[in-house]
């Protein structure tokens, strides 16, 4: 059978996992095999959602190791389950977590792993397309082996529930290999607290070289706050010490999925583009009408951010006040 590794998103099956389940259902239909799912800890409440995506069995990976994430233990546990149930393919969302656990599990089973796939066709070998360099290139590849590990790039597949849900049974699997494994242990976790996370923000207001200084980001922060969004930046802004690296949008920073990306004084080198191309629409504010990000944006304002942003803030506040009165 095919096995889908299910990621928990605040107690529910994550969106990426729903996409992975949809892909798995299609592949399993072609291969004429059932789809099973694996989740860590007591996640029996996933069963109804998983049944709707065609899963016939949910395996709950349980044991002392499952209470706190340890990449080595979770990967080893998944590898043990894969061997135990005889899965021929393992699919997960290509989140940081999904890629990490599948890399561990594929290493421990000695099988190949194709990360960040956008299409997969099953057969004796699996023909797939994966994204490279955050989306700069597409790679067509063949995946061989007794067990094929695949992670699916978020947004590559439209999640689709079945018209009639599958009857699903749930069992628990307690791995043995995790008892003796040399592994890391999570010892502290700090929540970011208030503020909007860059990766999930609906609106991102981002600045680059054209902002010119750390102080220059004040107006970006004001606009982000007004729009309920997060502040991002380019690699230049990080490397100049204007913003922390956690704000960086790009290949080596965060890849955003905002409804609206407002790029202020960012020329848009490839490194940056792959971080923001997932936004539904892009507004670029730049003095250079030929800047790559301006030509790739949906909307552009040609001008200096130091003049444009204060004017936008003033009008937006006025508009908001009028709406409040009305």
């Amino acid at each position: 059978m095919l096995l889908v590794l299910v990621e928990d998103d605040s107690g529910a099956v994550s969106g990426g996992s729903q996409e992975a389940l949809t892909l798995a259902h299609g592949l399993a239909t072609d291969l004429n095999v059932p789809v099973h799912a694996a989740a860590f800890g007591t996640r029996g409440e996933f069963a109804a959602t998983l049944g709707a995506y065609g899963v016939s069995t949910l395996h709950l990976l349980e044991g002392p190791f499952a209470d706190a994430y340890s990449p080595e233990c979770w990967g080893a546990a998944l590898a043990e389950l894969v061997r135990h149930i005889g899965a021929i393919g393992v699919i997960a969302a290509a989140s940081e977590w999904g890629n990490e656990v599948l890399a561990h599990a594929s290493a421990r089973t000695g099988e190949a792993f194709a990360s960040n796939c956008v299409t997969v066709d099953a057969g004796q070998q699996w023909s797939l397309t994966r994204v490279r360099g955050g989306g700069m290139l597409l790679e067509d590849a063949e995946l061989a082996g007794a067990v094929k590990f695949v992670s699916l790039t978020p947004g590559a597949v439209e999640p689709a529930e079945l018209p009639i849900p599958q009857q699903i049974t749930t069992d628990s699997f307690v791995p043995e290999s995790t008892d003796t494994l040399v592994h890391s242990t999570i010892v502290d976790r700090k929540s970011r607290g208030a503020g909007v996370a860059l990766s999930t923000a609906r609106v991102v207001v981002s600045g680059g070289r054209g902002v010119g200084s750390a102080e220059g980001f004040e107006s970006l922060e004001e606009l982000a706050e007004l729009l309920g969004g997060a502040v991002g930046c380019s690699r230049v802004a990080t490397n100049s010490g204007w913003r922390p690296h956690s704000d960086q949008v790009g290949l080596t920073g965060t890849k955003i999925a905002a409804d609206l990306y407002i790029a202020c004084g960012i020329s848009g080198a490839t490194q940056h583009w792959v971080g923001c191309m997932g936004a539904k629409s892009i507004l670029a504010i730049n003095t250079d009408p030929e800047a790559p990000l301006v030509t790739r944006a949906d909307y552009a304002v040609i001008g200096d951010v130091h003049q444009v942003l204060p004017a936008i803030l003033e009008r937006a506040r006025a508009r908001k006040q009028v709406q409040g009165v009305a």
Partner: protein, 254 residues
């Protein structure tokens, strides 16, 4: 402490990426090369850790003979020794085997590396797995996405920090350990003139391990389709503010 950093020679990002005529690799004839950004931070971190705790930094790369350039750059940043693993393929399983075999050889001669650093994923191929495969083969703990490393003075364990969407996680791993790091870990130094001169003359070791191909085979590379669209210019300078606020209203964000 003994630190090993595994780096990769990657094409320097520019505009459009060109593909070779047979369609299986990046056409690098007109490109410069660099160390992957994650790995450059790994080298910097190793040099800083050794400056604080004492020890030795070895830098290793699997790649073509030309990857000597990247090894020498890492030496100019302060690494002490360089090893070139001659290995042409991007195949993640074969690369991991080549690295593991080389690390075993190095460790059988001079003892274990306390810490082995990788970049979280390579900038050009991005398989997200070579460091983890090596760590599993060596039976060592490994955590990815690392943006902070603290080594306790007694050198028995290491604290590894990483960010996720909700905040920060801290892992403790017993040494010897492996970490796959990300850019943002530090700001890599610009090599000094003395460093460059030293690196130019430093002897490098070359090894040629035998590997079998893994299960992932590249058929061809393609350019992603460029979205055809027109950019709507909302206006020039501060005069565009009204049109922008109209757009924000239309998008439902004001």
């Amino acid at each position: 402490m003994r630190v090993l950093v595994c780096i990769k020679r990657v094409p320097a990002p520019g505009g459009k990426v060109l593909i070779t005529e047979d369609g299986t690799d990046i056409d690098t004839r007109h490109l410069g090369f660099t160390i992957g950004p994650h790995e450059e931070c790994a080298v910097e971190e190793a040099v800083q850790l050794v400056a604080e705790h004492g020890g030795h930094v070895t830098v290793l790369t699997a790649g073509p003979p030309e990857a000597e350039e990247q090894l020498r750059y890492a030496l100019s940043m302060g690494a002490n020794a360089g090893v070139l693993v001659e290995h042409g393929a991007h195949d993640p399983q074969a690369t991991a085997t080549a690295l593991t075999e080389t690390i075993r050889t190095l460790e059988s001669e001079d003892g274990n590396f306390d810490l082995i650093l990788f970049g979280n994923e390579s900038a050009d191929v991005g398989n997200y797995q070579v460091g983890i495969r090596v760590a599993c083969a060596l039976e060592r703990p490994v955590v990815g996405g690392i943006k902070g490393i603290d080594v306790a003075d007694e050198s028995t364990h290491v604290l590894l920090h990483r960010e996720n969407a909700d905040g920060v996680e801290v892992y403790q791993a017993p040494l010897p350990a492996v970490a796959a790091v990300k850019e943002g870990l530090n700001l890599p130094r610009y090599p000094s003139i003395q460093g460059r001169l030293r690196a130019k003359k430093a002897p490098l070791r070359t090894v040629q391990p035998k590997t079998a191909p893994g299960g992932l085979r590249t058929v061809q590379l393609r350019q992603p389709p460029e979205k055809q669209h027109e950019t709507v210019v909302l206006g020039y300078g501060a005069d565009a503010a009204d049109s922008v606020v109209d757009l924000l209203t239309e998008k439902g964000v004001v």
